[in-house]
Structures are given as structure tokens and as C-alpha cells.
Subunit: 582 residues, 2 copies
């Protein structure tokens, strides 16, 4: 089979204006940026306000291996499959971060014959939205350090008298806004800024700081959760950057920087329209992490797509304990639109890995044995799929399992898995998806199953409500959502909860940040653990995004590069084409 | 008079496809990004190869005040003036850095009725080229720290045996590639990276580092000096990132990262077509600093514009000792196209400031007295203009002085200045430009003078040739170019020169990095100093850009924010329009 980039390059694409027209956008409702990308104006939502919403299909997965289980392939393939069976369909996916493109994971355009195209444009820069987030985020950082510097150097009273500004009296130990870059760069995780041994007065105030990857910026979560520019402005204004020496929060509005941050992100609020290899309109928008943020594509993109088409296929990052839980409890709270159907992506490979009998790592070749029939491993790993089916069903959302087929998978083992699913829960449909190798044609059965599931009445039920206490919300996710035996708050976490309540943040959602590689908080625990504790080390306030995230175990917000990163194979050839992108 | 952004917003603009057509581009030679910007393909150069080049007009200035003397206004105004007198003209300017937009200086789109439009798009993100430079630059930084980490952690032999890569054996004290961000952020000037007191093995190797503003990246200089994608690839491959423990340079090619850096910058190689408020086609491309780099818009943009129009107006940063010198000695070496005419922008305000009798600072209001007739100050400050006229004439380029008129300037004083110039050198034309208040109509006299000057035979002569020694080149710029009495190399600089020679870098150009606020290396020395020394503290190698820059005095490569930065007035209004941008 051809490489992803070769498949993409050999597939004729439509001009994006044609795709937009086909999707039902008027020509003045989008701005083409070159031939294959177009920024969609939010004015389209005004025109379409009275239109009924389509069905929202959220693609989730079993507990993934570090290699991923093909969720984006299935998302794009399903949208193509729906189009093949003559349904009006769109896909909504997140913008890939460039860090992983250069690091281990590669791109995030899907793969094989189920890709968003042109994949090199999707994976590199796209229309600059992540860059806008990076700039806006670091503008706030520069604002904090500049203000600290000027107030400290001059003294608060003198500063006030001369500048006419109210001193913020920043506590330099409680600056909670780190910096960001869209790179995998471990050396920036913990840094000291403002250094100058020779002259302490010129480079600012020396303090400990660090960089996260841009996808981990609260602004990225905000971009995915906002519904218009004025709401974006308000949310950014509420973001807490630091605390003052009286222990009170200092927001972006307090620093007079929220307006400029919004201006910087003004264009990024518009989703980017692209197409799949089969010409299905696809919106790309925002790219929040699925651990310290909610890991779903944007509410704005969903809204536009739901007005334009009968079926909108989107995805939540990692397994159903991660992106799907957050889609149901964080995203729905802001969007008021719940999933009409959940698709759980499973692979034979991934289930066997969940048996604990295989250890799959990026950068090391797969053991051949994992593609041989191995009933024991499949039965053991199936516990994980059962767990995810139950997890999704507790939201009362109709459920379809999509088995994403790899070329090496045996028909016999695929049949065995289908039977196991049907035996476990006859109300759950299951289909094999061959979207990677066959595009939409390989996903028509899955598409039919999804159409059927969407006809069921969804009686959506989240795990908690705004007015419950933050502790109750954390317990709901850990004990009901994950099925954990207990949740333990560290003394620091308890202290922080009390402070958040005091400052009026009780109504926020909660976002548990844990490893995606296990249902528990420990990556090595495979399958379907139950007797485990969820230890909460520390809480972080995202007042603009509208949630508090809880650090449970080690959560990496700035990845590192391996010794042979993906960037080593990237280059241009003699004709100026990009080679080595996957 | 209206504010810049209000003038810009109330001026009807043409669709960029119309501007491109008018400029002579075929529709398949550019890619519109929205209605008002278009990326120009380098294929246009192939089609137009046999076309004769137009005249290259380089706008420079007297020694500027920190407020600037209106060089961009004059550049845009002159292009509009040329169009008014029915000449085919284009302007080529640099992309503004966002750091200064948020800091003190504000935007860099020109001003009044001589602006590039839409100014908010020019000043914010544009088409993402600076972001691409930032990403490519920091990718190299991440590559360095990752390689250092893996080699150090594992040991060189074990690293080689396992990875199959040759160990680079990086000297951690000689990593010469700093990081960059497009912000004014003094706290990032000097930082420590790779910190982790608790576990020294996970966040990389702890070392001193720092950030410069993206305009100071060598990649930005390369973007401005390259002529196609393959040349860009080769130049990036040559960039020296660090030295090994044997003292030998390690390039981006040695780190296997040059291909990915080029891929990241692939689209940025195309200039962005925009228009002035009067519809004159303008190319925006690259934005190198005019101290540690050459401070001119790109060779690619010039080349395209020279094929498309009879007159191309471009500018070099700061006074003629800075951007114009570098245009003649660095840029011409790469482009093989010398200026056909130089325009020196002078203001009454700037000349009086050069008398040393006024102290103008950004953020503090101008003293009213500077607009009163003050013959003494004008006569004293005129020495500076004389210096710049002589400076330009040594390149044997026909010269026009443009007096950029402020509304408060008196006709009497303007006449006096004109007379002084004519008395000093009758071969130099002089015209008052009212481009700010009147657009092209205010620059028609200047345009006529430029057309006439371009008819003269230019017998261009640079200050030095490649084969001279690096010391001789430095002396040529300091002693001939600046008219300094001497140049002194520090022991470090001498050691570095010997090393550069040893490593085969003798043929590079030299780039003196000094304050732009004086002809000398000390900002407070106004007028036309002569008996001064140029002390060279340290040299920096830009092997990809093709020059060695010499740090003479304090040169800031990462600006800081003032206590009331420009970002404080930036916001969106209730209709979603940007307010407060200047």
C-alpha cells in the first residue's frame, strides 16, 4: 500500500469553494485560503439558526496503546461511509499539534484512504490557529513578567503615582500561567527566567517557570468551548494568571491584556473547512489535550456542521474514560448538545495489548505474534472493551462498536470478537471498519449501524450537575465514571478546593488529568481495573475554560523528543515536494 | 485627522486578485488567502525571466529618533506618488514583528494615507511567515537539547550502538543557537533550561540559554536573502547550531533537522501580495533586524517586483549607516542587483533631535518647542543629514532627500532646509513629502525626482569584496562606511576571527550590530561624530545567512515591555472590530 502522503498526493481534490457549496455554505460565509482550505464565518450560524440540528456522533475508543487505535481514521472513514450511503455528513476534528508531527506520533490527518487532505497542510501550520493561541498565551506571560518587573523595580506606590495604573502586587511565587510552544521540548519543562548575575535589574524578576505544549494552553481549551467572539473575550478576561500578595486571583482583565489576547485570536475562532480524500466536508478547529483539557474538537465547528448536515462525526481524545467523559460532562455543559450516538473504536491489537500480555511502544516494531490468533489474550483484553461499553452506556447514549481492521487481522478472530460483543450486550451494534484500506466503501456497514443507532431516543444523562460541590463532581467522575474504589485528595488539593470555593469557582466542571493508557491512574494497569484509588495531587484552575483540572498521577504537559525523532526523515525533494511526512 | 486604523477601514480596497492582475501576475501564479492577501508563487519568476528589471529605489533615513522618521510612510507614499504620475510601481516592505505591535512602537504598515492595507492583517500574523520562522527555529533548539540529553544520558558509544546515529559529542557550553519568540519579553533574555532539582535525568541537560525576538533569528535573515526553496534548504543545512567537544562546528544538517526546518518554512518563501490604500501592489516578505541582520525586505520579493514593474520602492531599516549599508554590502552580494536610487528620509524633528538639544523618547509626549522655528538646532542637526548624504554617495548611487512633513512643520523652516541641502550638494534632489496627510498626491514631486534620479547612470561600488579578510571587511564598514577613527577587536573577537578562518568562513560578509540612534556605537552621540572608535566585543557566525555579525556596544535582541504597553489599548468592540491598533 502507498504511504499516507503518496495516497493523499495522488488523489484529486475539489476546490474548497466547491466543497463549501456542497456543504451548503454561501460564498460570503467562508474565506478560501488557497485552493484547499477555507475559514468559515460565524455569520453562517445566524442564517441557519432556524435549521434543525443533525445527529452528533462521537467517536471514542478502548484504552489505547501508545500507537493509537485508529480513531481519526474511523472518524473520517465513517463520514465517508455515511456519504457513500447517501447521507449528508460532515466530520469535525481537532487541529494536529506540530510537536508530535516532528516527534514520535506523526501527523493526525487519519490515514490510508480515510484522510483529511491535503495532509501536509493539515499537519503543518494549517491556517495558523495554534500559532495564534501560542502568541496570545505568551503575550499574557510577557505581560505578567513586565508588570512584576516594573512594580518591583519602582515600588508599588511610585509605580501607581507615575503610571496611573493600580499596582497588582503580584506574588511572584504564585504565577500560575506558564508559557507555551508548539514543540516537544523537554528542556523547557522547568526553567528559570529573568536571569542576569551581573545586573539583577535589567532582565526582570528571576523566578521559576516552564513551557507547556500549546495544545495544553487554557486558551486552546477556551477556543474549543467558546461559541462566539464576545464570549471568547469574556472567557479570556476571566483567565487567572497569578495571585496577589493577599492571595486573591489576578485575571487577564486585571492585567489589561485580555483585549489584545482576543484580538490575536480573532481569526482563530473561525473553523477551517477542508475535505476528506472522498470530498466529504470536514471542519478542523482547536486542539485541546484530552487529559488536562477536554480533548474534543470545538463547539463552534460542531454547531456549524450540525446546521449543515444530518450527521456530524467527531471524536474525543483517547479512551471513553478520557475524551468521551469530558465530551459528556464538560463540552455538553457549554454546548447544550449531547451525543446522539457513540462509536467505540476497538482493534484486535489494542485488545490483546489490554490483556497485559504484549508491551507495545512507539518506535519499537510490533511483535509479529500479536497478529496471530491468540484467544487467551483476546478474551483477557475484551474486559477492557466491556468496560468502555458500560462506560458509554451510563450516559444513555446509543452505542456502536467499530472494529478497526488491520491488514494482518484474521477474519476468524474478527468474527470471534463480534460474537463476544453481541453475547455481552445485544443492544450494541458492532461492525468491522476497513476505512483505512478502502475509504468510505470500507465503512458503509458501520455507517448503516450508526444511522440506525441515531434513530434511537437518546436520554442523555451527565455524571454531575453544576451546583454539586467540586468534591462531589470529582467523586462522580472517579467513582461512577471510572468505577474507582475511592478518590484521595492530597492536603494541597484540599486547600485548593477551599480556596476555589472562596473565590466563587464552585460551579465549574472538573477535568481529571490522568494517563490515557489505563482506566486507572497508572499506565501499566491494563484491562478493566476496579479496586483502585484515584489520588489527586494538585488542582489547576481554568476559570476561562470553565473547569478545574485535577492532576492524578504523572501527566506530561510538555512531551520530549526521542533519540530519532520523526523530523529526521522530513525533507523537500528536488521538485520542492515534502517527503517523509506520515 | 482620523486614526490610522480608521483611515484604513474607511478606504475601499480592491480584491487581491484584481491587484494581482493589475500587477501583471497570472491567476495561477498566486494563491489568495482571503480577499486582501495573496501568496505569490516563484513560478512567476520563471515566466518573467527574460523581462528587463525595473529600477530599485531604496529608502533610507537620517539617524532616527526612537520615534522613527516615517520611512515606511515615505516608501508607501512614494510608490503611490509614482502611480499618480503614471509610472508602474510596486513597494516591497518587511513583515512587522508582533512584539513591537504589542509593545511601544505599534504597527509598521506606514501611516495616515500612506499605508499598506488592511493594516490589522499586516500587523497581526499576516500569512504566518514569522510564525513559520519561529517554529523552524525552535525545532532546531528542541533538536539540540534532545540530542544532548540522549547522548549524555546513554553515553556516546552506547548511543551510537543503539540508535545507529553518529554521536555529535556536543559541547554544552558552546550551543550558539538560542531560542526565539515573536514577543517583547525581557524575562526570557537569559534563562536556565533543563532544570529539575528532584530528578536531573528527566528534563534534559541543565544549561544557560535565552530567547531572542523572532526577527533576530538567523532563519529570518536567510528568508530575506535566499532566492528559492533549494537554496533555502542548503542555507539552513549550513547554519551552525553548536560546537562539539573538539571545537568543530555542528550544523543543522549534522543534527538531521535542516529538512524539517525547510519543510516548516516552505510556504513562507512566497511573498505576500497586498495593496496600499491607493491600490498600489505591495509585496510583504521577511523581517530581519537591521542591526544583527541586514534589515531589508527580501531578495525574492524584490526580484518579483522588479520583473513586474518599472519602479520598486523598498526600505532598509534605521539610518543609512544601518540598513542601507547592509543593503549595499550584504544584500547586493546575494541578489546581484544594486540600488538605482537612494531616498534619504529626513524630518525637521529628527534633525533637531540630532542637534543634541532635544531628547525624544517613546511614551513621552514631544516637546511643543521642537515644532517652533529653531535655526540653531536645525543647523546643528543638519550635520547628520550631510553625513548620510555622503554615506550614500560613496556607493555612487543617485540620491534624493525626502523631507517627511509633519502637520506642525513651518513652510519657512522646510524651505530653509531645502536650501541648505541644495547649497551643500547641488547634485542631490530634495522634495517635501506629504504622503502621510495626502497619500500619493503628496508625493508626486518626490516621485518625479526619483524618476529623474533613476535615469542617471548608477556606478555602484560596495565597501568591500568577498575575498578580503574578515578584519579588512570590518575595517571597511567602520572606518570607510562610518568614518570612525578606529576599530578595536576584543581578545574574544580576535580569537573568533581566527576560528572562523580555520573553519572556512572567510568569504562571508560582515554585519556590524550597533545602536541605530547614533552613527557611532553610543546612542547618546548625536549629529555627525567622526573621532570615535568602533569596539567589537564579540562576533556571531551566521553561516546560513552568509555573514558574521559583530556586536559593537549594547545590542538588544529581545526587547522588553514598558509599564503601559500598547497592548493595553487593544480590544474588540461590540461588533467584533479591532480597536486601539496603531
Amino acid at each position: 500500500m502507498l504511504s499516507d502522503i503518496d495516497i493523499c498526493r495522488s488523489t484529486p481534490l475539489k476546490n474548497i469553494s466547491e466543497v463549501a457549496k456542497q456543504a451548503g455554505l454561501h460564498h460570503n460565509e467562508h474565506q478560501p485560503l488557497g485552493q484547499y482550505k477555507s475559514k468559515v464565518s460565524l455569520t453562517s450560524l445566524e442564517r441557519l439558526a432556524s435549521q434543525q440540528d443533525g445527529k452528533l456522533v462521537v467517536v471514542t475508543a478502548i484504552t489505547p496503546t501508545p500507537l493509537g487505535e485508529g480513531k481519526t481514521v474511523t472518524t473520517i472513514g465513517l463520514a465517508q461511509g455515511l456519504a457513500k450511503i447517501n447521507q449528508s455528513a460532515m466530520a469535525c476534528i481537532r487541529q494536529p499539534s506540530m510537536g508530535p508531527v516532528f516527534g514520535v506520533k506523526g501527523g493526525a490527518a487519519g490515514g490510508g484512504y480515510s484522510q483529511v487532505a491535503p495532509m501536509e497542510q493539515l499537519n503543518l501550520h494549517l491556517t495558523g490557529d495554534i500559532h495564534a493561541v501560542t502568541v496570545a498565551h505568551n503575550l499574557a506571560s510577557a505581560a505578567i513578567d513586565a508588570r512584576l518587573y516594573h512594580e518591583q523595580r519602582e515600588g508599588l506606590e511610585a509605580f501607581e503615582a507615575r503610571s496611573g495604573l493600580k499596582a497588582l502586587d503580584i506574588d511572584p511565587r504564585r504565577i500560575v500561567w506558564r508559557r507555551v510552544l508548539d514543540h516537544n521540548d523537554r528542556a523547557l519543562r522547568m526553567i528559570t527566567v529573568g536571569k542576569n548575575e551581573a545586573d539583577k535589574t535589567i532582565n526582570g524578576f528571576e523566578r521559576e517557570d516552564g513551557f507547556d505544549i500549546s495544545a495544553a494552553s487554557e486558551l486552546m481549551a477556551i477556543l474549543a468551548l467558546t461559541d462566539d467572539l464576545q464570549d471568547l473575550r469574556k472567557r479570556i478576561g476571566r483567565v487567572v494568571l497569578a495571585y496577589n500578595n493577599q492571595g486573591l486571583p489576578l485575571t487577564a482583565d486585571d492585567f489589561n491584556v485580555a483585549g489584545a489576547m482576543t484580538v490575536t485570536m480573532k481569526d482563530s475562532i473561525e473553523p477551517t473547512l477542508m475535505q476528506t480524500l472522498e470530498g466529504v466536508p470536514t471542519l478542523i478547529h482547536a486542539g485541546p489535550f484530552a487529559n488536562i483539557a477536554h480533548g474534543n474538537s470545538s463547539i463552534i465547528a460542531d454547531k456549524v456542521a450540525l446546521k449543515l448536515s444530518d450527521f456530524v462525526v467527531t471524536e474525543g481524545g483517547f479512551g471513553s474514560d478520557m475524551g468521551f467523559e469530558k465530551a459528556c460532562n464538560i463540552k455538553v455543559k457549554a454546548s447544550k448538545k449531547n451525543p446522539d450516538c457513540a462509536v467505540i473504536v476497538a482493534t484486535l491489537r489494542g485488545l490483546k495489548a489490554n490483556s497485559g500480555l504484549y508491551d507495545l511502544r512507539p518506535g519499537t516494531p510490533l511483535p509479529d505474534s500479536i497478529f496471530n490468533d491468540d484467544q487467551d489474550a483476546l478474551i483477557a483484553g475484551f474486559e477492557n472493551l466491556k468496560w468502555h461499553i458500560n462506560s458509554v452506556k451510563q450516559y444513555q447514549v446509543p452505542t456502536v462498536v467499530a472494529i478497526n481492521r488491520f491488514p494482518q487481522d484474521s477474519a476468524q478472530e474478527l468474527d470471534a470478537l463480534k460474537q463476544m460483543i453481541t453475547d455481552f450486550d445485544p443492544s450494541v451494534s458492532v461492525e468491522v471498519s476497513e476505512a483505512f484500506g478502502q475509504g468510505g466503501e470500507g465503512a458503509t456497514k458501520l455507517a448503516h449501524a450508526v444511522v440506525k443507532a441515531c434513530q434511537k431516543q437518546s436520554e442523555f444523562k451527565p455524571l454531575y450537575h453544576s451546583k454539586q460541590s467540586l468534591e462531589e463532581k470529582l467523586m462522580a467522575v472517579a467513582e461512577v465514571g471510572y468505577g474507582a474504589a475511592s478518590i484521595s485528595l492530597s492536603p494541597l488539593a484540599k486547600k485548593q478546593l477551599a480556596e476555589f470555593k472562596l473565590h466563587g469557582y464552585n460551579d465549574l466542571s472538573v477535568c481529571l488529568a490522568k494517563t490515557p493508557l489505563s482506566i486507572s491512574t497508572e499506565a501499566h494497569v491494563k484491562g478493566a481495573p476496579s479496586q483502585f484509588d484515584v489520588p489527586v495531587r494538585e488542582l489547576k484552575l481554568c476559570a476561562g475554560a470553565g473547569f478545574i483540572y485535577a492532576l492524578c498521577g504523572n501527566v506530561m504537559t510538555m512531551p520530549g523528543l526521542p533519540d530519532k525523532p520523526a523530523f529526521m526523515s522530513l525533507d523537500i525533494d528536488s521538485k520542492g515536494n515534502i517527503v517523509g511526512l506520515s
